[in-house]
């Protein structure tokens, strides 16, 4: 390794560690790393200033920002609150049924909403209902966090890491669903069963819920209708975007413009609600990874990956899945997706669709193994703390790592079977 490569590795490690230790906000860590990458890259002549200006992938940013705007408008219309309230109503006060509904709603809502927004909404509903039912909110909130992390694994817009992988792998919305939806739904069932068996003794008895109409929660019916139509259009266009020769970011940005025009909401208020922390982290970390790529290190790593897997498709897929899953349980899954993407792009002679799918599953599933694995779990822990309930690190890790191992184990079998890797 040359001293130039060494510098970029140090920047990469410095960014990951300072973000993981919360020494600075993750966006600041990534921007600091990006600044150092550009500084050293230009000093050592690894890349030119013109090349550096192209390091941020505008396609991914467009897809991310467009999706965020569409779902922020839908969130404000009350569509997702209505879904959650219906779930609670349908349970009829049966704690076991309610637990299953909370799990299902968490996963379903996070297929479209950002994980943090989905968790905030579900956690608020879960704590309210557990108070009413006179139960410990911990099983509901912890399960919601795990299910929110799992939800959206099979959609291009389900998580930021999916967008990064989808855009780089040129996977369409429908391809994403075709390859991964069966696995995701099976994982929902497996994870719910694991969570239910873990918490079945602490779920209380049936209690009547007050009668209410979920529709009363919708304040602006006109906005609700427009948002519902827009969501149908958004998802419909995503289903056929490849046939229309439209790129995913064009669909997302187009629908975002429509949402802003039709909703009559204050656009500056919508823009303020966007997750800028994620947008800046993604931008900064893209630059850091490009710097690392410029030194040829990632190409060497992918050669090393091929050497370790011995060009054996099932082994290579399993290694990619578990490696990205374990890495995502320690550092941000956005960072993992950005690092592994150029590695897979370098690989030839293996089933790359299987590798991309393994990366999607790994980066998504690793996010709820420990209380430090992802922002969703941190938010769930904070919600519980505010409610006066504490879930210890080991308590969460016990259930979090168990569900992660089960999910990764099942995904390994699924990928090998789905892509016919054992001939």
């Amino acid at each position: 390794m040359t001293s130039e490569s060494m510098i970029f590795v140090i920047i990469y490690l410095f960014t990951l560690l300072s973000a993981a230790l919360e020494m600075v906000p993750i966006s600041v860590a990534a921007l600091l790393g990006a600044f150092l990458t550009v500084w050293f890259g230009l000093s050592y002549g690894v890349f030119t200033y013109e090349e550096a200006t192209g390091f941020i992938d505008m396609k991914i940013l467009g897809l991310l920002i467009g999706t965020m705007i569409v779902f922020e408008v839908a969130y404000r219309s009350g569509i997702f609150r209505l879904m959650a309230l219906y779930a609670i109503k349908l349970s009829g006060g049966d704690s076991r049924l309610l637990f299953i509904f909370v799990c299902l709603t968490s996963a379903a809502v996070s297929m479209f909403l950002s994980d943090s927004t989905a968790l905030l909404m579900i956690a608020a509903a879960a704590t309210t209902i557990s108070k009413f039912m006179d139960q410990d909110p911990a099983p509901y909130v912890v399960s919601a966090a795990i299910m929110v992390n799992l939800g959206g694994t099979s959609t291009l817009i389900g998580s930021v890491s999916n967008m990064i992988i989808g855009v780089n792998a040129e996977l369409s919305f429908t391809e994403f669903i075709t390859y991964l939806a069966p696995c995701e739904f099976a994982l929902w069932a497996l994870t719910m069963a694991t969570l239910y068996f873990n918490y079945r003794h602490v779920l209380g008895e049936k209690k009547a819920v007050p009668t209410y109409s979920p529709w009363e929660s919708v304040e602006d019916k006109s906005l609700f209708n427009k948002s519902a139509l827009l969501l149908v259009l958004f998802l419909g266009l995503f289903m056929i975007h490849d046939k229309l020769n439209l790129s995913p970011e064009a669909v997302a940005l187009g629908c975002a413009v429509l949402a802003l025009s039709l909703s009559n909401l204050d656009p500056s208020d919508i823009f303020r609600s966007l997750d800028w922390e994620t947008i800046f982290f993604l931008s900064g970390f893209s630059i850091i990874v490009k710097g690392l790529e410029g030194t040829g290190l990632l190409a060497q790593l992918s050669q090393g990956f091929l050497a370790v897997s011995g060009n054996n498709p099932p082994l290579a897929t399993a290694i990619m899945l578990w490696m990205s899953g374990l890495a995502s349980s320690v550092v941000s899954n956005i960072a993992v997706a950005l690092t592994f993407t150029p590695m897979i792009q370098e690989i030839q002679g293996l089933n790359t669709t299987a590798l991309w799918s393994a990366l999607v599953l790994g980066t998504n599933l690793g996010g709820a193994a420990t209380p430090m694995s992802g922002v969703v779990v941190v938010m769930a822990m904070n919600t519980l703390k505010r409610e006066g309930t504490t879930v210890s690190f080991s308590e969460f890790t016990k259930i979090g790592s168990l569900t992660t191992i089960i999910q990764l184990g099942f995904s390994t079998i699924y990928l090998i079977a789905r892509f016919g890797l054992v001939s």
Binding site: I10, L21, L36, F40, S43
Partner: protein, 187 residues
């Protein structure tokens, strides 16, 4: 055991370091000079050459005593260095008490120091007159910070290991005691 304050440690240990170091120096001086004056004088009754030479005996005794005082001084110096490192790393921003997070923070500071030094050197080096001096200064300061942080990492890991070993020893002792209690008494 109650931990003493930083001021108390310095008040107690610094005079001991000074006295022990001076005594060690005196014995070292004696070990060098005294044998010259008694060269060739043998101690009657000891037939083991060259160990019956007075000069050799004085050298050996003075060196041994010097080493004893040096070890005493070093044991106090280590405590003072520990305190100094603790103060320095806290000033640098490592205030974490959980061991593994502290080690990780030390590592982040080591990486940051390396990056800052590497970024500064190309700018400082070409400066006329002061360039090489400033480059050397940056390298030495970075090296100093590395040493302090690496020492802190080692010290923290040592504490973790010590704690775990004590827990293991306690567990083994408990097992042995329980096994002993279960044994039927021979009476």
């Amino acid at each position: 055991m109650e931990r003493k304050s930083l001021g108390d440690e310095i008040r107690e240990r610094v005079p001991r370091i000074v006295v022990n170091s001076i005594t060690a120096l005196i014995f070292w001086f004696v070990s060098l000079t005294a044998p010259i004056f008694v060269a060739g004088i043998t101690i009657p009754g000891i037939g083991l050459e060259p160990y019956n030479d007075t000069g050799w005996l004085i050298w050996a005794a003075a060196t041994l005593m010097g080493l004893v005082f040096l070890v005493r001084a070093l044991s106090d110096i280590i405590v003072i260095v520990d305190i100094g490192v603790e103060v320095t790393v806290r000033r640098l921003g490592v205030k974490e008490d959980r061991p593994l997070r502290r080690v990780a923070r030390d590592l982040v500071y080591i990486l940051l120091t390396m990056l800052l030094a590497a970024a500064a050197v190309p700018f400082v080096k070409p400066l006329p007159q002061f360039g090489s001096f400033l480059t050397a200064a940056i390298s030495l300061v970075s090296l100093g910070i590395f040493l302090v942080l690496i020492y802190d990492m080692g010290r923290t890991l040592y504490q973790v290991l010590e704690e775990k070993t004590k827990t293991l020893a306690g567990w083994l002792a408990g097992m042995a005691e329980r096994a002993n209690e279960r044994k039927p008494h021979d009476q």
